[in-house]
Subunit: 323 residues, 2 copies
């Protein structure tokens, strides 16, 4: 994959326009702090609670923006995507909002809570094998057969622009610009959006991706400046198993300040700390930001750090520290 | 116990004054809504998230007010209370805020997370047998021996006045006054405070207590207009096992609109629904309000109902639906 950015990045006007659309349908999610977690980390952390977002994750921002930007075609042909979870729900909700036929390809290993949620928004589900190849080929088949319009989970500029509104909204909520903003990186849509939004709104803020060691493709790609895909990732952070895409890869490797990897143990520890101290439910993928702070204490000591908690969709029968 | 109210109820000025003190130290907790829970219940529910309060429960309001109203004696002699959990933490925090020696009598069966929390605020713990008799006699001994000033968990007008500020703050946050406000009832401090605050601020709002069937002393007392204590209560809502007191009993039986009891199964169901749909952590005692709505659907259909979620302190190794 070429590292050169040859496509047009969204402008701040694009992001503002997306936000006007998205804020009509999505929640303005709160920013929370925890004195106890600040004490433990010797840092000053602001948590943006996208776990409280509609559909339980930030993903609806990108889905709404992608659908709304191509609304006539989407209404005419229907929409589709492949996703193991949160993006599936987001597209299902976007379909419901705009009254569009929605067909989601989901791996048959997806958690029951996520499958039920997608169904509850009235979308059809097509189950596939839990491999990227089968997910993509199943979706291709639907596109070719029925003309459904694809809404990719991250590798779509409309989606990245939508995700950028999470950072835009976050910066609007903070009195001072933070020293760092940390986001989980899976396919890189949220992180790419943060990089672009920060570039316009707070260029002095360092944008950091946090990634499980067990799914460290973005880290390896960033360090080598070469596209290195995720191969059989085995992490509890199920939203972060995907590889970067042709749009997110060049944005991230050229513009991110750093990518920090975290252990599985620390993901669980950070997740439990947030449950216990903040009394909110986050999924494992949301915990990598705090885990990165905990693993790199000196870097974040006395710094103002913005963390996006990406989602809160977890099977409550399957809590990691109770295994 | 006499049903006649022979003591002076707090005035609205008392509550406002308490709020001025409390709001300096406690959080203004958010009000949350859930479209999905509204759909399930066919109601319009506003949840006041005292699980996000300092110490993880509303209890700090009463503790701060009680200590501040008698601050010189408290500083001179130290403070004490007996509590199985949230009030213990609240008094420990109040002690820390005002720099007061604090000695908490806790039953040795109290959950580890609550014991650790009390210790983390620098309070001393005196363990006792898990009976009301032993809790009270242990505390009496400390009072007699060392002169510590008692901060009762609910049967103290300063504490009731402090708890009334949860309802005051809630009403301030709502655009319209609700048809109902529902609160858990254990010892009755929160409910008594709500009755008094509603009397001044929204007399048209019906104040309802929600109580586990398995600890239905307030229900029986209200229906019979006689004081009936809680005898070997066996409920998962561990904060609601206590009996009404000499102050809370007459306030509640004379002024509450109704007391609704709920089954253990519905407490767990409501608790899980809040975790799953709202992505927030509440303890079982917090869930009785929603459980009461779910058990009395027609009563709350299309009504605007305010629910106070009293706390979020739960041992995360001990989640009821995973047993």
């Amino acid at each position: 994959m070429n590292t050169e950015i040859t496509f047009k990045l969204p402008t701040i006007e694009n992001i503002n326009k997306a936000y006007t659309i998205i804020s009509t349908f999505a929640h303005i999610t709160p920013v929370m702090k925890s004195e106890q977690i600040n004490q433990i980390t010797c840092s000053d952390i602001f948590f943006k609670c996208e776990n409280f977002q509609k559909g339980g994750a930030f993903k609806i921002r990108g889905a709404i923006n992608a659908v709304k930007n191509n609304i006539e075609d989407c209404i005419k042909y229907g929409i589709t995507t492949h996703s193991s979870g949160n993006h599936a729900q987001a597209v299902a909700i976007a379909g419901k909002i705009f009254g569009i036929k929605t067909h989601i390809v989901m791996p048959k290993t997806a958690s029951k809570v996520k499958i039920d949620a997608v169904k509850s928004y009235g979308a059809n589900i097509e189950f596939c094998k839990p491999t990227l190849e089968d997910r993509e080929s199943s979706m291709e088949r639907l596109i070719n057969q029925f003309g459904y319009r694809p809404i990719h989970a991250y590798n779509d500029i409309r989606v990245i622009t939508g995700q950028a509104t999470a950072t835009l909204e976050f910066f609007n909520q903070l009195k001072q610009k933070p020293d760092y903003i940390i986001l989980p990186v899976g396919g890189g849509g949220l992180l790419s959006g943060a990089i672009i939004a920060s570039h316009y709104l707070s260029p002095e803020t360092k944008v950091i991706g946090a990634e499980p060691e067990m799914a460290n493709d973005a880290y390896l790609s960033f360090k080598s400046k070469k596209f290195i895909p995720s191969v059989t990732p085995n992490t509890i952070a199920d939203g972060l198993k995907t590889s970067l895409g042709s749009f997110t890869f060049p944005i991230i490797i050229n513009k991110v300040y750093d990518i920090l990897t975290v252990s599985e143990d620390n993901i669980i520890k950070a997740m439990r700390l947030i449950w216990e101290r903040m009394k909110i439910i986050i999924e494992p993928s949301s915990a990598v930001g705090l885990a990165a702070i905990m693993e790199n204490k000196s870097m974040f000591r006395n710094k103002k750090t913005a963390v996006i908690l990406s989602g809160g969709n977890i099977d409550l029968m399957n809590i990691p520290w109770m295994k």
